[in-house]
């Protein structure tokens, strides 16, 4: 397990929670996020952040703490985990209803 | 001084070549100076004044009541909106117009964007100088969009309640 960072945001048009992927796209799945371990990696996230904001693709960007485990990349903070999954009180809403995220239970 | 900036005229105003001055002495030698409000008392203490007309620039914390004694000698008041979210300038304008009877030109400057123009017009401004990046066509279009107002203010628009008394079956 290693600690690092990922870039998250909301899409301007829909408000969807998204994460920057290694390919430079945006995915709704946190476990598909580009994982930045070094300062250089974080600089790449920051550059992508500035570019996407300038292009009016995303808003409310934030580089957040994440961990990389055997099952994949996942945000560290409770708040970000809720964003990644959906509200804990409504299992039918959010990514938890669309994808099998059970590997990240209690992450 | 506003050569590149687009301005929206809510009312017809006499055009003049205003020049911003930082000090009273500088202003005294300028035909159409615009002086910061806190330089005003120095300006009026000078003997050698060659200005044709005087403009004053307010900051949001200027007490407009302090201008009362000199108001009839002021032709232009610029109300500065350093950030468009700072709404003090609207009250300054209404107090100047409605309490103090200021008849000169009232001009909104600073972070003046599109969606504040309709409020500025109603608070008694004659002119709004748009921030550099604002599209004047969008500004004109947005300004025309509103026809209904609910409360009296410093402009001469009748609020809805007054119109209702005259227009029973008003159709749109």
């Amino acid at each position: 397990m290693s600690a690092g960072h990922i870039l998250t945001a909301n899409l301007l048009l829909t408000g969807d929670v998204v994460f920057l992927t290694p390919a430079g796209d945006w995915s709704v799945r946190a476990d598909e996020a580009r994982f930045a371990e070094t300062e250089d990696d974080v600089a790449v996230l920051k550059a992508a952040e500035a570019k996407a904001v300038a292009a009016n693709i995303v808003v409310s960007t934030e580089i957040i703490g994440a961990e990389k485990t055997q099952v994949g990349v996942w945000p560290t903070r409770n708040r970000e985990q809720i964003r990644a999954k959906g509200p804990t009180v409504h299992e039918a809403f959010g990514n938890q209803a669309r994808f099998d995220l059970s590997a990240f239970e209690g992450a | 001084m506003v050569a590149n900036a687009h301005q929206i005229d809510f009312r017809d105003v006499e055009p003049a070549e205003w020049t911003h001055c930082e000090t009273a002495t500088q202003a005294a030698q300028t035909a159409f100076p615009v002086l910061p409000a806190d330089e005003l008392s120095s300006y009026f203490e000078l003997n050698d004044v060659n200005s044709v007309a005087l403009g004053v620039r307010l900051s949001p914390d200027t007490e407009v009541e302090a201008l009362a004694d000199r108001l009839d000698q002021i032709a232009l008041i610029e109300v500065d909106f350093p950030a468009y979210t700072d709404g003090r300038g609207y009250s300054q304008a209404r107090v100047l117009r409605e309490h103090m009877g200021f008849q000169g030109e009232l001009r909104a400057v600073g972070d003046v964007l599109i969606d504040q123009l309709r409020f500025m017009k109603r608070c008694g401004f004659d002119v709004a100088v748009l921030a550099d990046h604002v599209d004047p066509d969008d500004a004109e279009a947005a300004l025309k969009r509103y026809g209904v107002w609910y409360q009296p203010a410093a402009d001469d628009r009748p609020p809805a309640h007054r119109l209702r008394r005259f227009v029973q079956n008003w159709e749109i």
Binding site: T14, G15 | R145, G147, V148, W149, A160, R164
Partner: protein, 549 residues
């Protein structure tokens, strides 16, 4: 209820068209997010944790059946089949797309609704008593006054960019059902010794991170001076309210730092310049507005206590009548509270189907009118006693028959970290665990009236300062932690709750609440509710029981 004329209809259509243009300019990149954000907020559109959230205004909590059906339609079409009723009597949708928001505003405009000034640093929705117009104890119907203030405050050109948000509430009975002293401006309509109408105006109250009780500014405002007096307060606030620190920008800080008396003098000085001027001429509008609020055609032969036979043989129904209905000013009628607090649900949430059902019931058992309460429930204001059994059965079938109004599980709960971008802790799960622990109607009835209010951060949307028992969620080193407060009230005996001691995790909180209730039950004297016992015995016995000697 008030109905739009062509001026009002044009105003909301213009606003919807304007917002469509703003959204288009944002998408085209002509507005930056920083420039757009205050504009979308003034139309109730937030960016929350998972998506955009749209807050729709329900002026003073009053809805027609047709409007409720539209709200259901919006939930079904643009959201996930849910709406959430709020403590300011509005509704919000949690899963809105920016690109849909202009269409939603058009839909709302078609039923005389909007999202104008439901957020942003401007004058917000005017709130009022959920039993306005039907409560036996009110001196008059406050709603026409709310409507007058609503119109005055809508698109007010001077007050669109105040230092901070501004909330006004209007009450018109001795019982305070709006939290008069916990608003930026709270108004109580009264009668003076000569029987003449006067307005008591309080300013500088509020909750949030620095809770304060509002100060009485004047108790002698006459009807034809109401708007000028409000305008004077707002102007002083707009000019002198702090803008250097967002957390000190509410009017309560200005009143506090200026001093109550000096602030009153400043307002009076401003008021003298405008009283009797153009803004007060708007009082001419009052008669036209008041005509919309004349009493409906009540059944003069409505039989009093026609529900008693069912109550005698059905204890659950009897309990529901006891807790969820209020005496009506017309004999043979009751005002019914529909609980949006099922023990396994989310406070204030209603599904599209439930909203439609309530709309139907408001027509079948009333005059097609619905109220939203600040406690996140709904009210059918005009139900005949004879119709109570059928209404109860219909509500029960929809999961809306919980008989807990005013009881421990009728909690006010903010959305918390499950939805809110500002929250530090989740509010809903702890509320659900408490409801589960106390999921026994006999026990709840024995405990009696307790106002439990839960916020997921210090902004206090869940009114924890004003709860008999308040719970405040905080983030303690990355873990959710809950502080317990006791002794608050938002009613005529307004008080601010005080923190009991160190906080707990979720389960510890539920245990502590149970301990606190046990102390109350052991200590209460003849008919005292929780708050009365707390005020008599103080915090110590509760502290001792919760934290040990």
């Amino acid at each position: 209820m008030y109905q739009y004329d062509n001026f009002d209809k044009q105003a909301v259509r213009e606003r919807a068209a304007d917002f469509r243009d703003q959204v288009e300019r944002r998408i085209a990149g002509k507005l930056s997010e920083d420039e757009f954000k205050p504009l979308r907020l003034q139309n109730g559109l937030y960016l929350q944790l998972h998506a955009y959230m749209l807050r729709v205004a329900i002026p003073y909590g009053l809805l027609s059946a047709k409007q409720m059906r539209k709200l259901a339609h919006i939930a079904r079409t643009y959201d996930k089949d849910y709406g959430h009723f709020t403590t300011r009597q509005n509704i919000q949708y949690n899963w809105i797309k920016l690109v849909d928001a202009p269409d939603i505003l058009d839909e709302l405009a078609s039923v005389e609704m909007h999202a104008i000034q439901t957020s942003g640093n401007c004058i917000r929705n005017i709130s009022s008593a959920q039993f306005a117009g039907v409560a036996a104890d009110e001196v008059e119907d406050p709603r026409p006054w709310c409507e007058l203030i609503r119109q005055w405050s809508t698109f007010h050109p001077e007050f669109a960019f105040l230092p901070r948000k501004f909330k006004i509430a209007v009450n018109a009975s001795p019982a305070d059902r709006v939290g008069v002293k916990l608003h930026d401006i709270g108004i109580t309509i009264t009668r003076n010794a000569a029987g003449e109408r006067r307005f008591e105006v309080y300013a500088g109250g509020g909750q949030g991170r620095t809770p304060m009780i509002g100060k009485l500014m004047r108790d002698d405002i006459e009807a034809h001076h109401l708007l000028s007096y409000l305008e004077a307060i707002l102007r002083v606030y707009n000019r002198y309210g702090r803008r250097d620190n967002k957390y000190k920008a509410r009017i309560k800080i200005l009143v506090h730092e200026t001093g109550e008396d000096k602030f009153r003098e400043e307002v009076d000085a401003e008021w003298r310049k405008i009283e009797g001027g153009p803004v007060d001429a708007d009082i001419a509008e009052f008669g036209r507005i008041a005509d919309y609020f004349t009493a409906p055609a009540y059944d003069t032969e409505a039989q009093v206590d026609a529900h008693k036979a069912r109550a005698a043989m059905d204890p659950a129904f009897a309990a529901w009548v006891r807790h969820n209905t209020l005496a009506h000013k017309v004999p043979g009628y009751k005002a019914v509270t529909i609980s949006l607090k099922p023990h396994d649900g989310i406070a204030g949430d209603a599904t599209s189907d439930q909203m439609d059902a309530v709309a139907d019931l408001s027509e079948n058992f009333g005059f097609g009118e619905i109220r939203v309460t600040h406690a996140q429930n709904l009210v059918l204001p005009d139900v005949r006693d004879a119709d109570l059994p059928a209404l109860y059965d219909a509500l029960f079938a929809q999961g809306l028959g919980t008989a807990n109004q005013g009881l421990l599980t009728d909690m006010i709960v903010c959305p918390g970290l499950d939805y809110c971008a500002l929250a530090n802790a989740r509010s809903i799960p702890v509320s659900q665990k408490i409801a589960k622990r106390f999921d026994d109607m006999d026990r709840l009835q024995d405990i009696g009236e307790v106002k439990l209010k839960i916020s997921g951060c210090i902004n206090a949307c869940g009114h924890h300062h004003a709860g008999h028992i308040g719970i405040l969620g905080v983030d303690r080193k990355g873990t959710e932690n809950y502080q317990i407060l006791l002794g608050g009230s938002a009613e005529e005996d307004t008080s601010l709750a005080k923190i009991l001691g160190r906080g707990f995790d979720e389960d510890g909180t539920v245990d502590a609440i149970e301990t606190i209730i046990d102390v109350y039950k052991a200590q209460r004297q003849d008919g005292e509710n929780f708050l009365a016992t707390y005020r008599r015995i103080g915090a110590e016995p509760f502290k001792e029981a919760v934290y040990g000697g």
